[in-house]
């Protein structure tokens, strides 16, 4: 067995928060951490948890903050957490868009206007229509997301729509153009789109297949590219269980790098199938 190649930690620019733990109001068939209404593997983070991490991050000169879950807006502290974060730096929330009620959107708009830093929302869609979307995300979800997007448009917040490659054809130029047109149709005249790779872990393992043994990174592969471009060279993930190397590997015990941010500023062995996907697809978790 060969040793996993090491990615350096160059600078902690990006800090992720598993702010809703693994709790979600839906259970997507491709979710790489199998978030669901009953998955309590990682607990929700409290405002106090986040404030403690923000203080650590400030000392380390972190540049930007990302919030994911599960569904971040299931966390009742989410807006307060965002307010605290936006006093310190730019924030992005990854959401399924189902809980974007008018009053939540109005508050988000207020936070957007008041902060000198950027606030971004990323709303996930799967597929070009109700049928393909709900096949992955569950019956009735498309309609709820559409309501959420209308509420965002009503307050003038322009989200990034993210779509996984489960939406067949979205990576092609035509697929992209079609999707941008779809987003325009939702009421956003400056459509923003980000295409995401799928990771063959969690629920996705069952939907398609698990990683094969050959899907591992070698030192030779890493030497041929720019290791600095990997997210784990400049980011870390905070969950209720500690600090992990990245947002993808939070169910891998060995990807937990420590209790404090400072002690995780060291190289990491890229031993996992998901590391192969990040490298081969050039995945950037950031927007």
């Amino acid at each position: 067995m060969t040793t996993a190649p090491l990615v350096p930690m160059l600078a902690l620019d990006t800090l992720w928060f598993q702010v809703a733990g693994t709790l979600c109001n839906i259970a997507c068939t491709h979710c790489f951490i199998s978030s669901s209404p009953t998955n309590r593997s990682h607990a929700m983070l409290t405002l106090a948890d986040c404030e403690r991490r923000l203080a650590e991050a400030r000392e380390l000169g972190v540049r930007e903050y990302y919030f994911t879950g599960g569904e971040p807006f299931m966390n009742r502290d989410m807006l307060a957490i965002l307010e605290a974060t936006l006093r310190q730096g730019p924030a992005t929330v990854l959401t399924n868009g189902m809980l974007l009620r008018p009053e939540t959107c109005a508050r988000l708009r207020e936070l957007f206007d008041r902060s000198e830093y950027a606030l971004d929302l990323r709303v996930s869609l799967d597929g070009f229509d109700r049928q393909s979307h709900d096949a992955i995300r569950g019956a009735g979800v498309w309609d709820k997301v559409m309501a959420g997007l209308r509420n965002l448009a009503a307050v003038g917040i322009n989200p990034v729509i993210t779509v996984t490659t489960a939406a067949t054809g979205v990576e092609t130029a035509q697929g992209r153009a079609r999707f941008l047109e779809l987003i325009r149709g939702f009421g956003f005249d400056k459509p923003r789109l980000k295409v995401l790779s799928l990771f063959r872990i969690g629920a996705e393992e069952t939907r398609t297949r698990a990683y094969d043994d050959w899907e591992r990174l070698s030192q030779e592969m890493l030497d041929q590219g720019d290791a600095a471009s990997l997210q784990c060279a400049s980011g870390r993930m905070v969950t209720s269980k500690g600090v992990f190397v990245c947002p993808i590997l939070i169910e891998e015990p060995k990807a937990r790098m420590g209790d404090t941010l400072a002690e995780t500023l060291r190289p990491f062995g890229l031993a996992y199938g998901a590391c192969h996907t990040c490298w081969v697809d050039g995945v950037t978790c950031t927007t």
Binding site: A11, L60, G61, R63, G89, F112, E116, A118, N158
Partner: protein, 263 residues
Amino acid sequence: MHDLTRIAFLGGIYSNYWSLCAALDDIARRGVDATYFLGDLGAFGPHPDRVPELLIERGIPGIQGNYEESLSTGAQDCHCGYTDPRDNHYAQISYDYTFANTRDELKRWMGTLPRHIRFTAGDRRFLLVHGSPRKINEFLWRSTSPEPFLERLCREHEADVIVCTHTGLHWHKALRGDRHVINAGVIGRPANDGRTNVWYAIVTVRGSAVDVEFVPLAYDHERLAAEMRAERLPQEFVETVMTGWWTTCLEVLPSKERAAGRW
């Protein structure tokens, strides 16, 4: 009593010969101790030889941007750092035009430019970079560059004042300990604010006190637009020159900066 030093900084010029002429006249009128350019002499505008020729003729010092790095090494694209396909499409049109119309001798000169310039003014250690101290094409936007992060850059790169460009939008943040990060903006195209003028920066230093002035600069933008049309550069670029609103390379903008523009 400290001496007073005034320094002018020209961000990306993007082959905008007419704004460069206007800027040099304006700087001469105001009087400064030194003028520096911060890279990206080409892109966007027409006749890319004219800007480097004028800078060489006037003996103005400066650093490489990603454009000079790419042109001087024969790279296939500008390494602007875009990730969106539409952004890259328009960036490639600019780069191919600039590459084809820049003399080899000037490309070689671009290869001799330094990546960074350091000097001390008053008691402040200046560091001039194109994108950021760590990467030639890193985007330092106002809304995504919080103070703790900028303080780290100053600390790690042993600078009191970092001056950069690359994003196209000017801003200044004063940090703890009389440290500063200044994005000088660009004189190549307007600042996506519906105005046709461009911007450069004049920094005044006295001891450890640093004062930053962003100078709005009118120039003959209609003449530039006419030349761009004659060179068959994209109508979208001409529209930006004429309206002051960016029409391309928009996806890279953070939400705050994007919301401020028309497109």
